[in-house]
Symmetry: C2
Subunit: 336 residues, 2 copies
């Protein structure tokens, strides 16, 4: 009995030692290896430590650990055009044989003729029309399959790689780091919720119910066998951009986030709302200033506009601006 | 060394034995002790075993284990009036001093005079007006506090207990049993999302982001300090009833549920949509046939109508009807 007890104790001590070693090893491993040392990286690590150390005065309860991420320009490349718009343009080509009337009907005519001059002049209404014909009029399952097939094959012309390869390695590390510290990570995108849900789990480890996006109405109906189906209707339900972002965060989550990441004027209200949470919070904006490795754009870009007013707001409110050029050691997972 | 190794082995064997015992014990413990043995109870246990046993042909992947529950009449008492309507009526009394015009303005006048005859004749528009003045015009946080204070004090007149005591013990057991088997449990209620979120975690262990309900619009604005706030607006955004239930399930979850529990005509489409999922599914309706321990109502009740058409649909589609009287050994947690 004595021998057994001592062996048990010895085992317990070995276990404890192993546990300490692994905790020590974890704390010594850099959770953000693709980030250069600097203010941006430090603010992320400080935030996580401040909100998750049990004895911290700014400790955040696990059920309140919410982090939100814009997608286009924050998690993946949005230039020269949003990926979802590329999808819509490809769909118009694919659907053209079923729509002979498009040969003479704008905006489809210009699109099918690949008339770049006319396309550049498309109005918001033209784009809306293109989005609606390519995104509605089918069941939610059928749309999912269409996007799934497209995203597996389509390639970004500059890198000649699938769009889902063009994700930012440093941001994946932030998401993983937050999740490892019991943060629930949501995508809050101006892009289509149903579009992003198709690949979000595979690409970002964000499950469908944590994707908040622009959403159209669906209509409950029945198929020929009498089974319940949902049809995608050409009517906007949620415009998840600007003020729509905090409004939809409340609708879907019911809490203020404690961390928010964006890159353009469409993210301002989301960051403001995050800052209005009790206790510690982290607001960051990705600044695309790296023409060499990605793009350099800002106030003058129509896509992903980082206006001077947004920069002024960031300075006034003390938000962190991430310089892609200076803060990121590596841009894409495929970079060495 | 030999002794140590053998002690280790001995420990390993003891651990293994303990593990087996606890697995055995768990499988022998009744997960639904408040249910009488019968078809309803069996269908729940069969469903869980069929969808979670690794070698089952109808195994459901953990990320697809979604179970949805109506609230009023399915998880708690809805008679003689929905709890949220009781809240609204109490709020009219509380707000009356700030609204002297209500003394002469309908429907408020009748309410303040407690004119039962007039109240019984309220139109849908009257009720909407009452809901809007009591549920909108404040920040989301202020509304949360108002409901939180009310629900802590208000009592159901028949049982003289808080409304949150009047929850069905057998349904709590179903929720726990499903969660223990990696099902994510959602409330999908015709009631107000913001109202139910106040107590759902405490009462049902359902966090805020798993409460889907009728929702009004919010408007992003700023308080006097320039902090972002959301104001509750008198405009319906989601009517989470009937066809709205599957539509909102897609919006919030993005998947078909595999299990759905309801009790009235408002739940039919949610059950149909659940049945349209791939693989095994479970559709159940609580039937209030126990006047002695709770209520006996059905097709003729305005609240929680279980129409003859719904009963016919349940029969046709093979849904389980739970008899409160016969299937439930115990109704409330406080019952002995």
């Amino acid at each position: 009995m004595k021998i057994k007890l001592s062996a048990q104790l010895q085992l317990a001590m070995i276990s404890a030692a192993l546990l300490c070693t692994s905790t020590y090893a974890a704390s010594m491993t850099d959770p953000l290896p693709s980030w250069n040392d600097g203010a941006a990286k430090k603010s992320i690590i400080d935030f996580v430590q401040t909100t998750t150390s049990a004895n911290s005065p700014q400790y955040v309860q696990p059920d309140q650990r919410i982090a939100v991420f814009d997608q286009d320009g924050t998690l993946w490349v949005e230039q020269p055009m949003y990926t979802q718009v590329m999808f819509a343009l490809d769909r118009v080509q694919a659907l053209a044989p079923q729509h002979p009337e498009w040969k003479t009907k704008q905006p489809f005519k210009s699109l099918l003729l690949k008339d770049k001059e006319a396309i550049a002049k498309f109005t918001l209404k033209d784009l809306e029309q293109i989005m609606m014909v390519t995104h509605t009029g089918m069941t939610v399952e059928a749309f999912h399959e269409i996007v799934n097939d497209w995203i597996a094959k389509a390639k970004n012309p500059r890198w000649n790689r699938p769009y889902t390869d063009l994700i930012y390695q440093p941001m994946l590390e932030v998401m993983n780091y937050l999740r490892a510290n019991d943060y629930k990570t949501y995508i809050v995108t101006g892009g289509g919720q149903a579009f992003v849900r198709v690949y979000a789990n595979k690409v970002y480890s964000v499950p469908r119910d944590q994707v908040i996006g622009t959403a159209i109405e669906t209509k409950y109906s029945y198929d020929q066998k009498g089974n319940g189906v949902l049809l995608r209707m050409p009517k906007l339900l949620l415009n998840n951009d600007q003020a729509g972002k905090p409004e939809d965060i409340d609708l879907f989550i019911g809490r203020h986030p404690h961390a928010a990441f964006g890159n353009s004027t469409g993210d301002q209200q989301m960051l403001e709302y995050t800052q209005a949470s009790d206790g510690a919070h982290l607001m960051m904006l990705v600044h695309h200033d790296d023409a060499d490795r990605e793009y350099n754009y800002g106030a003058k870009s129509k896509i992903g506009t980082f206006s001077d007013a947004l920069m002024a707001e960031a300075t006034k409110r003390g938000w962190s601006v991430i310089s892609m050029k200076d803060d990121w050691k590596r841009i894409f997972p495929f970079d060495k």
